[in-house]
């Protein structure tokens, strides 16, 4: 549901990351998480831009800053349509016990130039490496499984939920950097993690983890909780709404047409 009138909620999450001097102590560098912030989902929620600030050493000059923002895991599946007796009837499905609802990677250059593919997968920077295939579906041929996992990531990328922004990190003067990631309106509420990683020559030097909360507030929260906690009452309210609206409309319109 993208529209011309899309309102972007401005900087909603600011976090400071101090990444220790990697040249001296490679992985034992001083690093501290920043301030937790929240993305608030209201009735005008239309997606959000998440901005993360941090500092990283300016020398050596070939350091790569990569920022990964990851939404809560939920079960998911991907289906490929299948043909039976000439008709498109069924689906071949691959189910995941857990898949990130949102997966955004921001870097200053294409990830392929930051590190080798298996290194990226090791550090969880490719969406495919984050999909936990359901036990019953692990028997599928590996090539077939990998193909469906790639298609899943592609579908989510088309929905704007899996983002790889190769121009999402900007270096600012004074050792500061700034990372921006766009979340669509369909992003799931919950606890998000943001991970700032510093790479050099394809190896990770340091990383900092922080969390950010995407949560519904106000009426959205009340309705969501209501639907979850007492589904029967919620459904009854839906029926009452339908009957009441139908009744009121027929009375009102009859009066209008009579007078």
């Amino acid at each position: 549901m993208t529209g011309l009138f899309r309102i972007i909620l401005a900087v909603l999450a600011c976090a400071l990351a101090w990444v220790g001097a990697p040249a001296r102590a490679q992985n034992r560098g001083r690093s501290a998480a920043g301030i937790d912030e929240a993305v608030l989902v209201t009735s005008s929620f239309n997606g959000a831009r998440v901005t993360i600030f941090g500092t990283a050493p300016t020398s050596p000059s070939d350091l790569d800053v990569v920022v990964l923002v990851r939404g809560p895991d939920r079960p998911a599946w991907i289906g490929e349509r299948q043909r039976f007796f000439g008709l498109w009837l069924g689906q071949k499905r691959l189910r995941f016990d857990a898949a990130p609802t949102y997966f955004g990677v921001a870097s200053a250059k294409p990830l392929g130039q930051v590190a080798a593919p298996d290194t990226l997968a090791l550090y969880g920077l490719t969406p495919e490496s984050q999909l936990a295939v359901q036990a019953g579906d692990t028997g599928m041929e590996p090539e077939e499984r990998d193909r469906l996992m790639r298609e899943y990531a592609r579908l989510r990328a088309r929905e704007g939920l899996y983002v790889a922004d190769a121009a999402g990190v900007q270096r600012l003067p004074g050792g500061l950097f700034r990372a921006d990631l766009q979340m669509p309106d369909t992003t799931a509420p919950g606890l998000y993690t943001a991970k700032v990683m510093v790479f050099r020559n394809g190896r990770q030097l340091d990383s900092t983890l922080m969390t950010l909360v995407v949560s519904k507030i106000g009426l959205e929260r009340v309705l969501y909780r209501f639907a979850r906690n007492s589904p029967a009452l919620h459904a009854l309210l839906g029926v009452a709404l339908a009957l009441g609206a139908g009744f009121v409309a027929s009375r009102v319109l009859r009066r209008v047409s009579v007078t």
């Binding site: 289906g79 008709l87 309106d185 839906g238 609206a245 027929s250």
Partner: protein
């Protein structure tokens, strides 16, 4: 300016939803169907997750049917007793159908079966209504008497437990109306629709209800069935989004009133003709989906998958 749906977890354009509700509501008013067979596929086409689309379709059908049925009551166009008997069969049928659907899902036969059943049923219903209405229109044009007349000696008259339906001036067994309600209920649970489009031809051709009572009585049954479906689906699957329902219903109740006015100006055969063609069109569209190479080979669970 979009509105965020708290349960479906996405933003939609409210004007689009109100417009969609208006369109489906008008259909409901003219034809005496809930419009679920139009609403649910259209919502899914707009990217609403399937569980939400199904229950929203039922919820809107309940609202549109309420406003339509009140209009029909005023014009004495409802056989309440017949509607109640069919609805009792329907509610039992929906419950049985829900169990049946769960069993089919367990063996993985659900999707293919539903789609083939849909195409077959819609195609058959659409074709027979259109043909009958066409013949009736042709007869009127030639100035002949409407065919048929009152049937006195079919199955409905010979079975036991006969009951009087004063409004329809029928004295028939309750078994056929109950059975019809039951079958429509089972199918609507399996196919996720209210069943009005199935009930109308059955009321006309099997029960021989007077034409002036068909649309109102069918609307009454849709009201009961759609409310039941909203409750069962909403409480079991948790897909009911009151924000979305509110927008759709707002459009639908106004549309339904206008639909009744349009329906009043059309002849019974004309209404049936247009309705039959509409059902045929939906059937053809679904049949094309079965045969043609799909544009989207892959589909995935709804983004949040919290449903």
């Amino acid at each position: 300016m979009d509105v965020y749906l708290p349960v479906a977890e996405m933003a939609v354009s409210p004007w689009l939803m109100i417009g969609l509700g208006f369109f489906v509501g008008a259909m409901s008013g003219v034809f005496g169907v809930g419009g679920g067979f139009l609403m649910t596929p259209l919502l899914m086409l707009l990217g609403i997750p399937a569980p939400t689309a199904v229950v929203a379709g039922a919820n809107v059908a309940a609202a549109a049917a309420t406003t339509s049925v009140l209009g029909h009551f005023e014009r004495r166009g409802v056989d309440l007793r017949m509607g109640l008997v069919v609805s009792i069969g329907g509610v039992v049928g929906v419950s049985v159908g829900a169990l049946l659907f769960a069993a089919m899902k367990a063996v993985g036969a659900d999707e293919g079966l539903v789609r083939v059943a849909y195409v077959g049923l819609l195609g058959f219903v659409g074709f027979s209504i259109t043909r009958e209405a066409w013949q009736a229109l042709a007869r009127t044009r030639r100035g002949e008497e409407p065919a048929g007349g009152r049937v006195r000696n079919d199955l409905a008259h010979r079975l036991p437990w006969k009951v009087r339906f004063p409004r329809s001036r029928l004295y028939i067994s309750v078994i056929p109306p109950l059975a019809i309600g039951f079958c429509v209920g089972v199918l609507s649970a399996i196919m996720g629709v209210g069943g009005g489009f199935l009930l109308i031809p059955l009321l006309i051709y099997v029960l021989h209800l007077p034409p002036s009572l068909v649309v109102g009585t069918s609307t009454f049954q849709v009201l009961v069935m759609a409310s039941t479906t909203t409750f069962l689906q909403g409480s079991a699957n948790g897909g009911l989004d009151l924000f979305l329902s509110g927008l759709l219903i707002g459009g639908a109740v106004v549309g339904a009133q206008i639909g009744i006015v349009i329906g009043r100006r059309m002849k019974g055969e004309q209404i049936r003709m247009v309705f039959g063609l509409l059902v045929l069109l939906v059937a053809l569209r679904l049949a094309a989906d079965l045969v043609l190479e799909p544009a989207l080979m892959f589909s995935a669970s709804p983004p949040g998958a919290g449903l």
